[in-house]
Amino acid sequence: MNAIDAPANDELDDAPAEPETLPLDDWHRARGARMVPFAGYWMPVQYEGIIAEHLWTRSSAGLFDVSHMGQLFISGPGGEAALEAVLPIDLGTLKPYAPRYSLLLDEYGGVLDDLMVTRWNEGFYLVVNGATKWDDIAHLREHLPDEITINHLADSALLALQGPAAAVALARLANGPVPIEALTFMKGGSFTLAGVEAWISRSGYTGEDGFEISIPAEAAAAVAAALCGESEVKPIGLGARDSLRLEAGLPLYGHDLSPEINPVEAGLTFAINKRRKAEGGFLGAETVLAALAEGPARCRVGLALEGRMAAREGAAVHAGEAVIGTVTSGGFSPSLNHPVAMAYVAAAQAAPGTELTIDMRGRRLPARVVPLPFVPHRYHR
């Protein structure tokens, strides 16, 4: 027996040879997690099993440790204009404490990373992907003026509490200027959580209602234990995080997004804010604005498969005999009980309802283009 397509360890390409440990390492191991190297760290891939953890998150609440992600704080004179030069975001419409999705683009409009940007007092709080954070910091340092300071908040842990019971569980432990339930999707604030100062936003990567929680690393184990002390909450591994985000139609950097893909192809034009579409003036604008005007040659789509054999990343997508695309994420959907995939396909074959096939191990798996997400989002708007 041997893995044909091992889990997403290609993120390790630029990572140190020996994975580092994160603040909750002992905590995960004590709870029976299977730890694997991911993005340069030992991370919990599963506890009791991916399907059980996935379904628990959809029906109750799951606690995810995402402390491998990069938390940055950017400040300094002219920070607003400086950030707009590297991100296609309109900071003029960014209200305080309301995270917004954005993209780090290279000069050719390729995606270097996807990230969240929040206006805090005196600066901007960014959350970037773990595998790309060092490159992101280097890219930002290169493109931001010297008087702009980039603080890597390496002493902060990041948790995500996701699922329909997340709010009721969190409300018992959090105190703040407003009740936690008063936050709506993509709003945040400072709270005291189990006695610890925490930045909490109503956001996440599962398609469910939920929260992302930044806390000091030294308090992470106590906060995680307090949250998992609530009957609705169980710890959930990275395996279910991946299957949940796939069902939610959310792209995963390094798989569904890369420097070879521009935001228009990825269907992420909402991240190019309205004023920036009109004015440009951000890194990669030339390519992105041209792609917006002309329409993309290929598009990220959802594919629903018949049968039970999953399509995997790298599999060729066919229309008749012609190869018209490639799978970038694929797996079994625990909620839908059939395999699903995301792929980039030629624009002519991207309409929902288009019947295609996927080449897997010499077979042609029938697949139909379907709208994303595969499983409806249940955000608290």
Binding site: M1, A3, I4, Q46, I50, A310, F332, P339, R361
Partner: protein
């Protein structure tokens, strides 16, 4: 009936010229939730070390190698609707396929249970 094991975590239970092949409990625990098993058709001729069978888990697909050479006589039809049997009963009801051995001498290169258990303990 004698059961032999491979370093790739397959088992083969042999009675006369017939062998039943599956993956070990260690293997299923490493794979996690199994969602689909791609089984060889009866009549398929396989050589030792070929990969006639693929086990899909939520995260990944894994080849199952033939411990010995032979001709497939039957695959486990129950796995079509219940692939999770490979998780819950990997060394009994979750068997994968049966074959007629073409060269029983190949069994000499495999491990017995004690040797396999020691091998896994050392991983």
């Amino acid at each position: 009936m004698t059961t032999y094991y491979t370093k790739d975590h397959e088992w083969i239970a042999v009675a006369g010229e017939t062998g039943t092949v599956g993956i070990t409990d260690y293997a299923q625990s490493q794979l996690g939730d199994i969602t689909y098993v791609d089984l060889p058709a009866a009549g398929t001729t396989i050589g030792k070390g070929d990969a006639p069978c693929v086990v899909d888990s939520v995260k990944a697909a894994s080849d199952v190698y033939a411990p010995v050479s032979g001709t497939v006589t039957e695959s486990n039809a129950a796995l079509a609707d219940a692939p999770e049997l490979v998780n819950s009963a990997p060394e009994t009801d979750g068997w994968l396929f049966r074959l007629t051995l073409s060269d029983p001498a190949e069994l000499a290169g495999l491990m017995d249970k004690a040797a396999y258990d020691a091998f896994v303990a050392g991983l």
